[in-house]
């Protein structure tokens, strides 16, 4: 899956909503052992820097969310009108 391409196609004014939804999915996921170390660190770094709603932040969230909760992520993104 080309995460860069997906994020590039998300309208600027929808990034915050998508980011919020992905954070919700990740924090609610019981599959925490699937979280890659590099993505956990990237997400925390972007969160600290208020960049979770930036394209780079959403990309990290999206990749992690697809690993931890693929079906939920696809369904949520579909509802938000994001093209996968």
């Amino acid at each position: 899956m080309d995460f860069d391409k997906i994020v590039k196609n998300i309208p600027q004014n929808s990034l915050e909503k998508v980011s919020d939804e992905l954070v919700k999915i990740l924090l609610g996921s019981p599959n925490t052992d699937k979280m890659p170390e590099r993505l956990a660190k990237a997400i925390l770094h972007h969160w600290q820097c208020d960049e979770l709603s930036s394209p780079v932040g959403v990309r990290a969230l999206l990749e992690a969310s697809m690993i931890l909760e693929e079906e939920k992520t696809k369904a949520s993104l579909k509802t938000l009108g994001v093209q996968l």
Partner: protein, 330 residues
């Protein structure tokens, strides 16, 4: 106006706890406390990450148990953290949690002496001194670290009973009380005042900390429902004197205790009454919570900790607390 702290029990993956700690910093909290139990994630691993991913909020173990972790090791950990985040570190120390100690087979003997000696050891070691102590609980033959803490580390002592409350106020930088109801604090303040007087300090010299079971939501029923499991465990662990103070029949508490000991959590939680929720938690809408916090502040609480469950959804409740509760006290 009270300061605000938040407590997390690291039962979940480290990145979730750190996410919420960053959120707490952004939300305007002053402190984040991580509980220290051997069966959860290691407190210092989490605090190290919190030091890395935050820049303002103060943090520490809330609380570490000197019977479980030798004060020398606590001092080393705290001084190391203080090097990473100078002036942002605080040490919560307490001898409670018999259940965990029992699991490991550690006897809880002479808790007053244990706290007194642990505080002395931590203060001396972090100040770069050589510690020699032939205490009632700890014997230290001549220990010294190869570095010292950049600045003094405040020690907050967990206390419930009269003697521990007095000692905590006498030797601690803060008295940390696990309670949510004003009756408990009205009672505790007598002993705290005794302690500060004994030390020749003023009440303003120490923090009086309310470590509450807290649950905030716009819908009061949802807030209270989230508090039920935590309240059940508090009721089960409360001594008779505390139950009496809140008018909770001992039979009702025993019923919950028995159900918990048998692992029948549904029965235990089903036996929690509205009176128990009122006695052992602050749960409700933001305006209800504000009223309770203001009551505690009036009694003398200077640092208010929102502890488990925080709310039905931790992330949403931190946002709610940030928008509607903390600003009322700033």
């Amino acid at each position: 106006m009270p300061k605000f702290g938040i407590e997390f029990v690291p039962t979940d993956a480290y990145w979730k706890v750190v996410y919420h700690a960053i959120q707490a910093e952004k939300a305007g909290y002053d402190y984040v406390w991580i509980t220290d139990h051997f069966n959860n994630r290691n407190v210092y691993v989490l605090l190290t990450n919190i030091a890395i991913y935050t820049s303002r909020i103060k943090f520490g173990p809330g609380v570490t148990n000197p019977y479980m972790i030798h004060p020398i090791m606590t001092a080393q950990s705290m001084a190391s953290l203080n090097e990473m985040a100078p002036g942002r570190v605080a040490c919560g120390l307490g001898t409670g949690d018999k259940t965990t100690l029992d699991m490991v087979g550690i006897e809880r003997t002479k808790p007053l002496a244990a706290v007194k000696e642990a505080v002395q050891i931590i203060r001396e070691i972090t100040a770069g001194k050589t510690v020699k102590l032939a205490g009632e609980v700890f014997k230290v033959a001549g220990a010294r670290m190869n570095f010292k803490s950049i600045c003094p580390i405040p020690i907050f002592i967990g206390a419930q009973g009269p003697k521990m409350l007095t000692l905590a106020a006498e030797i601690g930088d803060g008295v940390l009380i696990n309670a949510s109801n004003k009756k408990d604090f009205e009672d505790a303040m007598k002993y705290i005042k005794e302690g500060v007087e004994k030390a020749g300090k003023k009440l303003q010299d120490i923090e009086v900390v309310a470590a509450t079971s807290f649950s905030a939501h716009e819908d009061v029923a949802k807030a209270q429902k989230a508090a039920v499991p935590v309240v059940a465990f508090i009721v089960a662990g409360s001594p008779e004197s505390v139950l009496q103070r809140h008018g909770i029949p001992i039979e009702s508490a025993n019923k919950i205790r028995e159900a918990i000991s048998k692992g029948m959590f549904k029965d235990a939680f089903g036996s929690v009454t509205p009176e128990m929720i009122e006695a052992f938690s602050i749960s409700g809408t933001p305006s209800m919570c504000i009223e309770k916090i203001a009551e505690l502040a009036k009694i003398g609480v200077t640092l208010f900790i929102t502890g488990s469950p925080i709310g039905p959804n931790v992330r949403n409740s931190i946002n709610l607390i940030s928008k509607e509760i903390i600003p009322c006290f700033k």
